[in-house]
């Protein structure tokens, strides 16, 4: 019991601290690839600190939903962060919820964020909510097919179980079904974290923004909570991808050596995946909103092919 509490506390701290860093690394890598200097990998911490110190303006048209949304976004993301194996195959709360709980808890956060966007009465908020819900709804079947593929090879929806079974079969990541499922889930990751070509996290151009439009009215600590929650969600989805498909170095016990190897390989894989995201973001242009369904349809087909190919190999 105490060991669970201890590992939960440690992982909570780890998730909270690492998420901004990953976002900073992605931003910096992107800047370097575009021959810019970039703000440095610690900028997100500075942003958080700044936002948490500032005062905030609550729109007078808003109700308590507006204030509840950041709390739900942040708490669902952190809770999910405890259910997912990161350094060790044993996630602290893995028994409390598997991959389905992860998907639906993130959905709960999105549900409240979309309501928060609508609550101000500003048309930008409504526009963002509408687009966010649409895109995430269309990404859902592809995500579920990819998850099914992973869960079928592990015979479980429990994420620790998935990671353990992936460790057990070290060459499995070369199987076509796994590679196709990875590709499908990668597209979903791009869509869910609001990255180019689906959404541009750097834009505040009215007609193109999705996530930013929803949170336009937030300021101060609430904005900090939302941003932090979004970074944690990004970290979680990246970890899901890494540890379900490429669990190299994931420690199966809590020995210091195992944890050190686990930590090192986890960070390395995060950097590699970040580079992949940056590469996709830099080499693509943002799509028109009504082209996004085609991209997600591709992800769906990749997921379906992944499932079918579990028959063949």
């Amino acid at each position: 019991m105490t060991s669970i509490l201890l590992s939960a506390a440690l992982q909570l701290l780890f998730v909270l601290m690492l998420a901004p860093l990953v976002s900073g690394v992605i931003k910096t890598l992107k800047a370097r690839l575009q021959m810019r200097l970039g703000p440095g990998i610690f900028q997100p911490y500075r942003d958080l600190y700044k936002l948490l110190r500032k005062g905030m303006v609550i729109p007078e048209t808003a109700s308590w939903i507006f204030s509840a949304a950041p709390l739900v976004v942040f708490s669902t993301a952190t809770l999910v962060g405890l259910m997912i194996p990161m350094i060790s195959a044993e996630a602290p709360l893995s028994l409390f919820g598997g991959v389905l709980a992860v998907v639906y808890l993130l959905g709960l956060g999105r549900f409240f964020l979309a309501l928060g966007g609508l609550d101000t009465g500003s048309s930008f908020g409504g526009l963002g909510s509408s687009r966010e819900m649409t895109i995430s709804a269309l990404a859902e079947p592809a995500m579920m097919l990819a998850i099914f593929t992973v869960a079928l090879s592990a015979n479980s929806t429990n994420l620790s179980e998935v990671a353990r079974s992936a460790i057990g079969q070290s060459w499995r990541f070369l199987a076509p079904s796994q590679m196709l499922a990875f590709a499908a889930l990668f597209v979903v990751l791009i869509a869910e974290t609001g990255r180019i070509p689906v959404d541009n996290p750097a834009t505040h151009l009215e007609l193109t923004m999705i996530h930013e439009a929803m949170i336009l009215e937030y300021s101060g600590p609430y904005l900090a909570l939302i941003e932090w929650g979004a970074w944690i969600k990004q970290l979680i989805l990246m970890t899901l991808l890494i540890n379900s498909f490429y669990p190299f170095g994931l420690s199966t016990d809590l020995s210091p050596a195992g944890v050190a190897v686990g930590l090192g390989s986890y960070l390395l894989k995060l950097v590699l995946l970040s580079s992949l995201i940056v590469l996709v973001e830099t080499t693509n242009a943002k799509m028109r909103l009504f082209r996004v369904p085609e991209l997600l349809a591709v992800a769906f087909i990749l997921g379906a092919l992944a499932l079918i190919s579990t028959f063949l190999f």
Binding site: L51, R53, G55, S122, S123, L152, P221, A224
Partner: protein, 681 residues
């Protein structure tokens, strides 16, 4: 207490509930002029009947045994034999909870209804409750059909209760026709069973041994019960009829009446027809997937709050059918444990949907009563005027979108687990059906969340879009209390699911001879498990507790920031534009616009814009905007049928001379023909 007394009391409670409903329906007729008294009588007896039903059905579910009751009917062939077995008890339990909530709600609701007679509505409502109870417990086909018909007729009267409106009358007639087409198929189905077994008793139908005309019986019952369940494409009456009924009635219809079709199908397919062939089972699964997806897609583009809820009922019936169909598939593949898992998912969703749909319809009724409109484009900002209704609606919206820690998540989780387990259950290509159904279920669930973000966000948040919305007021406390009952149920069935699900054991034991619950609860009942080894667990109480804890921490951070940050209210920033009015707000139509474009193949949206210009085309004087979506099933499937039927009917006019002698002759000839062919020595 000794066991004998408990079971005797349970039987008494079960039968007393029937008498309470009867009293609740007849009572108001005696005091129909005194609206206040009629209201009290009908509500009190309705609540009493509901509570008695909850008690008796809970006892039966927990003990898992059957109870019988019979009375002389005085009519040959028709026997009043009632049987309360676990399957019936589950539906009766849902009926009891919904009846209690609806009756309590009706007390406040009826005091405000302007045009109608509370006594008459109370009479019809309790008669509906009585006929529903009989439908679930009749163990004789004729009694079942009589109860079914009484249910359909009272439902027709309730749907067309506000008959002064043209749309209501039309919806009532559509309901009447569809319902009777369904009943016709049911009569054929039961007559076929009777001709095979020589009896109308349900007990004699069990596992009919002769080589069955399976396909015929399967199709007859699927159409007959499917009309009532609202499966696509037999659903068209549902979104027409449910919204126009008084809201307490809509809640009962979507919460329970729709379930009678599912009850009938479960009774027939599991108990009477035995192990199904694989094609039939997969057909049910496919019907579930289609109903779920099409139901939610139509719900998404609705701007009428109650029609949105009605379409969402079709969606949820689809989800119930996915579990039901998966259970039949496993049954056909001889995997009883998996069949039990899928059946539990389906049964849990039946109870869950009864709760949250009742809650949502009652809340929509409260909104309708507060604002006088069902059109979401004229609502907005209701959260300030109707805070309690808003919170209750939000609970229903979260539950129906399947988010933890409420009950919708539990049944969807079990449905996913069953589908996932199904993939490993067979080696043939059929197993691909399961993940595809799972992916479609995921799409359905996510679209449902979108629809309910829209329903709650557009109706309750931001600024009022019309004067009616600005003048809205909160409802009477009995209405709020009536809504609170299912809301508490949503929470209890979510957080307490690991403790409550074993009650479904008796149903799976009855239908499949499998007790699954020992595998369903893991870690001392703290977590749910899908039963199979290593398959995955989820703990709703832990999720709920941790969410509250983390929310509290986040609230602390959000409220004060690092050094006590200042909060102030001000005008919304709105990208620097000042003067936000309700006309700038996002509308319900705009919210679903992206999905309307993406699924244009289904909706066939048409829009017409007419603008009048003065000098420059950039400054129109007036703009008229019309947008329309094709009702595919009505236009493509039903309109041709309707035309043909009407054509034939016009030709039949020739024999309608209007002379009473001619009609008497027709009756005489029919009688002679029937005597010649029907009666054999």
């Amino acid at each position: 207490m000794p066991e004998g007394i408990i079971s005797a009391l349970t039987i008494d409670a079960w039968i007393a509930a029937l008498f309470a409903y009867a009293a609740g329906s007849l009572g108001p007729l005696f005091c129909i002029r005194n609206a206040g008294l009629a209201r009290i009588v009908s509500s009190m007896f309705g609540i009493a009947g509901g509570l008695l039903q909850v008690w008796s059905s809970t006892a039966v579910l927990l003990e898992g045994r059957k109870m019988f009751w019979s009375a002389p009917s005085g009519v040959p062939v028709v026997e009043i034999t009632l049987r309360l077995d676990p399957l019936a008890a589950l539906f009766l339990f849902a009926l009891g909870v919904v009846a209690t909530a609806v009756s309590l709600y009706s007390f406040g609701y009826l005091s405000h209804s302007r045009e109608s007679s509370p006594g008459l509505l109370g009479f019809l409502l309790n008669l509906q409750l009585l006929s529903l109870s009989l439908v679930f417990t009749a163990s004789n086909a004729l009694l079942f059909l009589i109860a079914w018909e009484v249910m359909a007729l009272t439902a027709y009267c309730l749907v067309s209760f506000e008959h002064r409106k043209e749309a209501t009358r039309e919806a009532g007639i559509l309901f009447f026709v569809m319902s009777h087409v369904g009943t016709g198929f049911l009569i054929l189905g039961f007559l076929t069973l009777q001709s095979l077994t020589g009896s109308f008793q349900f007990s004699s139908f069990h596992g009919v041994s002769q080589p069955l005309p399976y396909a015929t019986l399967f199709a007859l019952f699927l159409i007959g019960f499917g009309v009532k369940a609202g499966i696509v494409p037999l659903h068209i009456w549902l979104p027409a009829a449910h919204p126009v009924a008084p809201s307490n009635v809509s809640a009962l219809m979507s919460g329970i009446v729709v379930k009678t079709g599912i009850y009938g199908l479960m009774r027939v397919y599991f108990e009477f027809l035995g192990v199904p062939p694989l094609w039939a089972a997969i057909l049910i699964l496919a019907v579930g997937v289609c109903s779920g997806l099409l139901g939610v897609l139509y719900a998404l583009i609705e701007t009428d709050l109650k029609r949105l809820l009605a379409y969402s009922t079709i969606e949820n019936v689809g989800i119930i059918f996915i579990g039901f169909g998966a259970s039949l598939v496993f049954n056909a593949l001889a995997k009883p444990n998996l069949a039990a898992l899928a059946l539990i998912a389906s049964l849990a969703h039946i109870a869950n949907h009864a709760l949250f749909k009742t809650l949502l319809f009652l809340a929509a009724g409260s909104v309708l009563h507060g604002t006088g409109t069902r059109n979401m484009e004229r609502m907005g900002g209701l959260l300030r005027a109707m805070p309690a209704t808003a919170v209750l609606f939000l609970v229903g919206a979260i539950a129906i979108s399947g988010f933890p820690p409420l009950n919708g998540f539990v049944s969807e989780w079990f449905t996913y687990q069953a589908l996932l387990a199904g993939f490993g259950s067979t080696a043939s290509l059929i197993r691909l059906v399961f993940p595809v159904a799972g992916a479609m279920l995921a799409l359905t669930g996510a679209l449902a969340a979108t629809a309910f973000v829209k329903a709650f966000g557009i109706s309750f948040l931001a600024l009022p879009r019309s004067q009616e919305a600005g003048r809205a007021h909160e409802s009477h406390w009995t209405m709020l209390a009536g809504m609170a009952i299912p809301a508490v149920g949503c929470l209890a069935l979510g957080v307490g699911s690991a403790w409550l699900l074993p009650a479904l054991d008796s149903v799976t034991a009855q239908l499949l001879n499998v007790q699954a619950s020992s595998g369903l609860a893991a870690h001392n009942g703290f977590a749910l498990s899908s039963g199979a080894a290593r398959s995955g667990t989820v703990s709703i109480p832990a999720i709920a507790g941790l969410l509250i804890l983390l929310c509290a921490v986040a609230a602390l951070v959000g409220r004060t920031g690092i050094r006590g940050s200042v909060r102030r209210t001000g005008p919304p920033w709105d990208c620097g534009l000042s003067g936000l009015t309700s006309e700038n707000e996002f509308t319900a139509t705009a919210f679903s616009k992206p999905l309307r474009m993406i699924f244009a193949a289904l909706y066939q949206p048409k829009r017409e814009i007419q603008a009048e210009f003065d000098v420059s085309p950039y400054y129109p004087k007036s703009i008229m905007f019309e947008s329309e979506v094709e009702q595919t099933f009505e236009r493509r499937l039903y309109a041709p049928i309707k035309e043909k039927v009407l054509n034939r009917a016009f030709r039949l006019r020739a024999i309608q001379a209007g002379s009473i002698h001619a009609y008497l002759a027709y009756i005489f000839i029919t009688l002679v023909v029937l005597l010649l062919f029907g009666v054999r020595p």
